[in-house]
Each structure stands twice: as C-alpha cells, then as structure tokens.
C-alpha cells in the first residue's frame, strides 16, 4: 500500500505497542536491582545492588523477609516438565501418526484431543480434585497434576506433529518397506530423522507450557509446591524485589532453553544437508 502517512502512523503505533508489551518487564528488571533489605518494590532506586539475587540463593544475612521457597520447587517443576515433555511428545507423535490415514470418527477424536488445550485449567483442576477425592486417591504433583499437564500439552504436540506429517512425503517410507526393511527400523532410520525438527518443537512446547503451568497444578498437586505455585503464594502477601529478581532469572533460563532449541535445530538442519551432499557425491 502506498498510504505513507498511514504507514508512518501505524509504525509509530506498533512501536508504542511493543513498549506496552515490554514496559512492565523492563521496570521489573530494573527494580530487581533495588537495594535490600530496606528497599521496597518501587521507585526510586535507593542504591543499585544485587542484594535480592543473593537473597534468593540464601547468601544474605537473615532478615525479616523470608526467602522464597524455590529450591525444592525448582527441582519439582523441572522433573514435572521433563515427565510431561516425554509423555506428551510420545502421545502426540503416535496420535498424529494414526491421523495420517483416514479413519471413521477422526473428527470426534480430533476435537477430543484439541479440547485439552481449550478447557481452562481451573475447571480440569477442580474436576481432577473431585475425582481424586471420590476415589480416595492422594493428590500429588507427580500424579494428579502430572496427568493434567499432559492433557494440556499433548494437544500442542499433536498439532505440531500433524502439521509436520502433512508435509511429509510417504514414498520414502514405502521405498524402505519395499526394500524389506522392518517397520520399526524404517521408523528409526527414515521417519524419525525426518520428523525430528517437529519432535523438537513439540518437546519445547510441552516443556515450557508445563514449566509455567499453575492453574491446573493449583488444585491437583496436594501439599508440595511447584515453582509457579510458590510465586502464586506471594500474591496475597507483600511483594518484595526478590520475586522480581526471580522473574529475571526465570526469563534468562527460558532464553537459555530457547537457545538450546535453536542450536539443536541448526545441528539437525546441518546434518540433513551433509547427508544430502554425501548422497550427491
């Protein structure tokens, strides 16, 4: 479009929009360097310091502000995220594999799976707690909360894999079968390397969604806190900059994760290219 004035105006607006998206996070990042323990979660910055970061790791002298209970919560959250990632990726790959062929009732099954990401966490969490109560099952983060995490992340993995299989040329598999290679070996040697980027994306989705998930965990996890529940616990009390420092650290952790994903992805692309060159030679 050639409407220069409008384009300029919209460009300016988009810049403001991005400021709106990032503003609170930037403020949070700045305030995490507030001095402690007397500095509060507001401006002005009395003195720049890393007090609250040290406070997180228990490196400061004890004060009236209790440290965040993150140590065990972090271990639980990471374990839960890895468990969820493995199970939902396996379920996603197998279900998407089934969808490569037309079958009766595929519409119903599709909606049943996608429903898992649509239904709000409060509702499934509540329902799961009721089921656990009725059947006398103890609620734990590795039990009732874990199965709900998979309910949430499995549809994402499934949709990613569905998109991958849509662009997948089945004739390479058929070639392998007709050469007498067993289906299991074909999957390992042909199918899996081809769908690997998709599997990686599905894993990334599942891991981050589970790591950050809390409304499902809230009712279903029993007494032990996961990381998001520990943060949720600070909502009702006075907020100190240690929560902000923690926010900065989790963001950095997420970026590290994203970086790992990018590296693995680049490696798989490079390997594919090398194989292609070898074949040409």
């Amino acid at each position: 479009m050639n409407a220069t004035g409008i384009k300029f105006g919209l460009g300016l607006y988009t810049a403001l929009f991005i400021v709106f998206l990032y503003g609170p996070l930037v403020v949070l990042g700045i305030l995490s360097f507030q001095t402690g323990p007397e500095g509060g979660p507001q401006f002005p910055i009395i003195e720049w310091s890393t007090y609250w970061y040290r406070h997180l790791f228990g490196l400061t002298p004890p004060s009236r502000i209790a440290p965040l209970p993150i140590e065990q919560a972090l271990v639980r959250s990471l374990t839960l995220a890895v468990m969820t990632m493995v199970v939902s990726t396996v379920l996603g790959v197998t279900a998407a594999q089934a969808f490569r062929r037309k079958f009766r009732g595929s519409g119903v099954v599709f909606y049943l799976i996608v429903l898992g990401m649509m239904v709000p966490g409060v509702l499934v969490g509540l329902g799961m707690a009721l089921v656990a109560n009725a059947f006398g099952i103890d609620r734990h983060w590795w039990g009732t909360a874990f199965v709900l995490h998979v309910v949430y992340t499995f549809p994402f993995a499934f949709l990613v894999m569905l998109a991958i299989f849509n662009r997948f040329d089945p004739s390479v598999e058929e070639a392998s079968w007709s050469l007498g290679v067993s289906p299991a070996r074909t999957f390992r040697k042909i199918t899996f390397p081809l769908i690997f980027p998709g599997v990686l994306s599905a894993m990334l989705f599942a891991f981050t969604l589970s790591y950050d998930e809390f409304s499902r965990t809230l009712f279903a996890s029993g007494r032990d806190l996961t990381l998001p529940l520990a943060i949720y616990g600070t909502f009702s009390v006075e907020v100190h900059p240690n929560v902000f420092a923690f926010g900065v650290l989790t963001t950095l952790f997420s970026f590290a994760l994203l970086g790992t994903y990018a590296i693995l992805m680049a490696m798989s692309v490079r390997r594919a290219r090398r194989v292609a060159i070898q074949e040409e030679a």
């Binding site: 479009m1 998206l21 429903l115 709000p120 707690a129 309910v151 950050d212 409304s215 923690f246």
Partner: protein, 301 residues
C-alpha cells in the same frame, strides 16, 4: 501370524486382513491418547457436573443428589455478581485487545512487506511469553502502584499533581493487565489473515480511486474477520478461565467465577465450586458457539 500364512493363498482375504491390520494399527496408535483424554479430561469434567448436585455439609460433600447448591448459587448476590463481573471483564478485555491489537496487526501483516521484518516483529511480540505468566502479571504492580512507574512519570511531567490511586487494586488494573497479557493472541491470527491478502487487490482499489478508509471497510476488514474470530476465541477462553490476574492486581475487589472456585475449594465447599465450574463451562460454550456463528471458519481458513 497364522492369519497371514493362510491368507497368502487367497488374494481377496489377504486384502481384507491387510485392511484389518491397518485399522488395528490406527486403533493402537490412538488408544493411549484417547484413553488419557477420556480419563483425565472428560471424566473430571463429568465429575464436576455430577458433584454440583451433591449435598454440601460444612466440611465435606455427600453423594445424595440435591439442587441446593444450585439454588444457593443463583439466589446469592455474591455469586451472581461474580457471574456478571466475569461477563463484563470478558467483554471489556475482548474489545480492548481488539482495539489495541488490530492496528499493530495491520502494520505487521499488511504494511510491512519485508518477510524478515514482519517475522522479527512477531517474534518480538512473542518473547514476553517466555517469562512466567505469573511474573508478567506481577510486573504490573510496580508499574501501576501509587509510587509506581506510571504515576512517577505523570507527576514528573506535571500532568497530575497527585498520584492516581485508581490505577492499582481496581477493576482498571485487572483490565490493563489482561489486555497486555492476551492481546498478542489477537495480533497473531489477524496479522496472519492480513498477510494473505493479495496486494494487487489493494492496488486495484487504489487505482480505481478508493481512499484508505473505503479500502479498509470494504476489503481489509472483511478479509481479516476469520483472524478476528480466531483471536477472539483464544482471548475469550483464556479470560473466562482467569483468576490469577484478578487475584494479583485487584486487591480482592474483583471476583471472577474463577476466583469464586478458588475460594470455595479453599474452604472445602466442593459442591459450590462445582456449581460455579459448571456455570463457567456453560458460559464458555455459549461464547465460543456464538463466535463460531459469526464466521464459518472451515470455509474461510
């Protein structure tokens, strides 16, 4: 194995058993996922509906069917109030995300014709999602508070003399927070639909002398509607199921249905919580069905 051995003699039977094997394979591939969803998604929701008819005593529930919880819910001002608050906040946030997000989507999807730049802009919008949701909610506290960044800036600029107190711990702060958190879900689908518009259509309209507003009204807006509906479904489902933003930013002044569920579970009133849950489910079903009525997504996408 014996099946395969005998079927080699008769080709017709071989085809039939091949077919049987295929549907067998589909069945075994699907079974784990479907069973998982039935057990851990459908059963809990069904249980919620069932328990909403149970008898609530002070600390526990008994499976004697009654309508008492339902009657209590609909005769209580608190619960009905929460229902209306949920509907009101949902409507306001839906409109706010659309109004705030649409121009940005218009720029990214239509005006930036450089693919790399538009991808970079979209990625820029998604990066905040890599911070924990709860931290993003909490980040609004130092922004909106009485001594927060916005009040400080406004006072330094001399726009206001006294800090605006209504910014934090009010309905407004909940709306601002939700708009920021959810508007990207509106921008994405709209930008995607706008990116698919053929530029030559717009050029043709321009060459024929149509002004920007006319082009916007007759071409751009109708073609972006599927994106708007998809975005609206995302935002609606998430806002209706919300309780954390209200818990963090309203200072207990805003009670959504989600908050009602959380407090009822906290005081072991499972049956009431279940009633609120069923009401929320029905509300969500109505909203999504109504949105799907607006545009036939299967035809448009």
């Amino acid at each position: 194995m014996t099946m395969a051995a005998t079927s080699q003699d008769r080709p017709a039977e071989a085809a039939a058993s091949q077919d049987g094997k295929r549907s067998d394979r589909t069945f075994w591939l699907l079974a784990p996922g479907v069973i998982w969803m039935l057990l851990f998604l459908v059963l809990p929701i069904a249980m919620m509906v069932y328990v909403s008819f149970w008898t609530q005593t002070t600390f526990k529930i008994e499976p004697t069917l009654t309508l008492k919880s339902w009657i209590t819910f609909f005769s209580s001002d608190t619960y009905i109030g929460a229902l209306w608050t949920t509907v009101r906040i949902w409507l306001i946030v839906l409109v706010a995300t659309l109004v705030v997000g649409y121009p940005a989507a218009l720029f990214v999807g239509l005006f930036v014709r450089n693919k790399t730049l538009s991808t970079a802009l979209l990625v820029l919008c998604v990066i905040p999602f890599w911070t924990s949701f709860l931290i993003r909610v909490l980040a609004w506290r130092p922004m909106l508070g009485k001594e927060g960044a916005i009040n400080m800036i406004l006072m330094n600029l001399g726009i206001v003399d006294q800090p605006i107190e209504v910014l934090l711990f009010s309905e407004l702060s909940v709306i601002i927070g939700m708009t920021q958190i959810y508007c990207v879900f509106m921008v994405g689908p709209i930008a995607f639909m706008l990116g698919r518009i053929d530029p030559s259509v717009l050029e043709a309209a321009q060459d024929l002398g149509a002004g920007f507003w006319r082009i916007f009204r007759t071409i751009i807006l109708p073609l972006s509607m599927p994106g708007v509906v998809v975005g609206a479904i995302f935002v609606s489902v998430m806002v209706l199921g919300e309780f954390a933003t209200a818990a963090a930013l309203s200072g207990r002044k805003v009670n959504l249905l989600g908050n009602i569920i959380v407090t009822q579970v906290g005081s072991l009133k499972w049956a009431f919580a279940a009633v609120a849950g069923v009401v929320l489910t029905v509300l969500m079903g109505i909203v999504v069905a109504a949105l799907l009525r607006v545009v036939d997504l299967r035809k448009e996408l």
